[in-house]
Amino acid sequence: MTDPWTLIGAAYALTVAGTLGLALASYLAMRRAEAEAARREK
C-alpha cells in the first residue's frame, strides 16, 4: 500500500502548483494585455 505521506504530498503539490500556475499565467496575460492597450492608446 502507498505511503500516506506520498499521497498527501501529491495532493498538496498538485493543488499549490495548479493554483500558483494559473495565478502566474493570469498575471502575465493581464500585464501583456494592459501594456498593449496602453501602447495603442498613445
Binding site: 500500500m1 502507498t2 500516506p4 505521506w5 499521497l7 498527501i8 501529491a10 495532493a11 498538496y12 498538485l14 493543488t15 499549490v16 495548479g18 493554483t19 494559473l22 495565478a23 493570469s26 498575471y27 496575460a29 493581464m30 494585455a33 494592459e34 498593449e36 492597450a37 495603442r40 492608446e41
Partner: protein
C-alpha cells in the same frame, strides 16, 4: 452592481483590489495549509490521510462556487443586460474548471487509500465529473461565441441550465448511497473538531481570495483586449 456597469469605474476598483486579494489570499492559504499539515491533529479513523481535506474541501467549494458565479453572471446578463456579466462569466470558467479538476484528483488520491479505490461511479464523484465536463463545454462555447462576435447570451443560458448540477452535487450524498462521506459542515454546525476546523476555514478563505484575484486578473485581461480590438475596428472603419 449597476454602479460597476461602467468598465472604467470597475477597473478603478479592480486594480488595487487584485493585489490585495492576491497577497492576502496567498498568505492565508500558506497559513491554512501549514496548519493543516503541521498543527492539526490526525483523524482518529483516517489518521494522516484526512489532511488531504485541507486542499480537497477548498477545491470542491470553489469548483461549485465558480459555477454558481457563472449562473449569477448569466442571470445578470439576460435579465439586467449588465455589460460586465459576460466578461465575469468567462473569467470564472477556467479557474472554476481547474479547482473542479483538483477536487477530483485530490479526492482520488484520498480514496485510493481510504476506500481502496481511485474511482467509483457513485453520485458525488460522477456529479463532480459532470461539473468538469460542463466547464469544458462552457469554455468551448464561450470561445466560439466570442470568435463569431456573439453577445454571449447562448453562454449565459448554458451557465443557467448547467446550474441544475449544483444541488445534485450537494445532495448526492443524501439521495444516493455513496462511498463519499455525508455532509460534515452545514448551516446548523459542523461535526469537525475545532482543532481541525480552523485550518480548514483559513485555507478555504485563502484559496477563495486567490480565486477572486485570478478572476479579476482575467477580467482585466479581457477588458484590455476588448479595448484593443475596438480600437482596431474603429481604425479599420475610418
Amino acid at each position: 452592481m449597476h454602479a460597476f456597469a461602467n468598465p472604467a469605474r470597475f477597473l478603478k476598483l479592480a486594480r488595487p483590489l487584485t493585489a490585495w486579494l492576491g497577497w492576502s489570499g496567498a498568505l492565508l492559504t500558506a497559513l491554512g495549509l501549514a496548519a493543516g499539515l503541521l498543527l492539526a491533529p490526525a483523524d482518529y479513523a483516517q489518521q494522516d490521510m484526512a489532511r488531504i481535506m485541507y486542499v480537497h474541501v477548498p477545491a470542491a467549494w470553489l469548483g461549485m462556487g465558480g459555477w454558481t458565479g457563472i449562473a449569477i453572471a448569466g442571470l445578470m446578463q439576460i435579465v439586467w443586460r449588465h455589460p460586465l456579466a459576460a466578461v465575469a462569466g468567462r473569467a470564472v470558467a477556467v479557474p472554476g474548471a481547474l479547482f473542479t479538476a483538483l477536487c477530483l484528483a485530490t479526492g482520488s488520491l484520498w480514496g485510493s487509500r481510504t476506500w481502496g479505490t481511485w474511482w467509483q461511479w457513485d453520485g458525488r464523484m460522477t456529479s463532480m465529473l459532470v461539473l468538469l465536463f460542463l466547464y469544458a463545454g462552457y469554455i468551448a462555447l464561450a470561445e466560439a461565441d466570442r470568435e463569431r462576435g456573439g453577445d454571449g447570451r447562448i453562454t449565459a443560458i448554458f451557465g443557467l441550465v448547467g446550474a441544475i448540477n449544483i444541488p445534485i452535487i450537494k445532495y448526492s450524498v443524501t439521495w444516493w448511497n455513496t462511498l463519499h462521506q455525508k455532509q460534515s459542515i452545514g448551516v446548523a454546525g459542523s461535526s469537525i473538531d475545532g482543532s481541525m476546523m480552523w485550518p480548514l476555514l483559513v485555507a478555504t478563505l485563502g484559496f477563495s481570495l486567490l480565486f477572486a484575484a485570478i478572476v479579476l486578473m482575467r477580467m482585466r485581461t479581457m477588458l484590455a483586449r476588448q479595448k484593443v480590438e475596438g480600437r482596431l475596428r474603429r481604425l479599420a472603419g475610418a
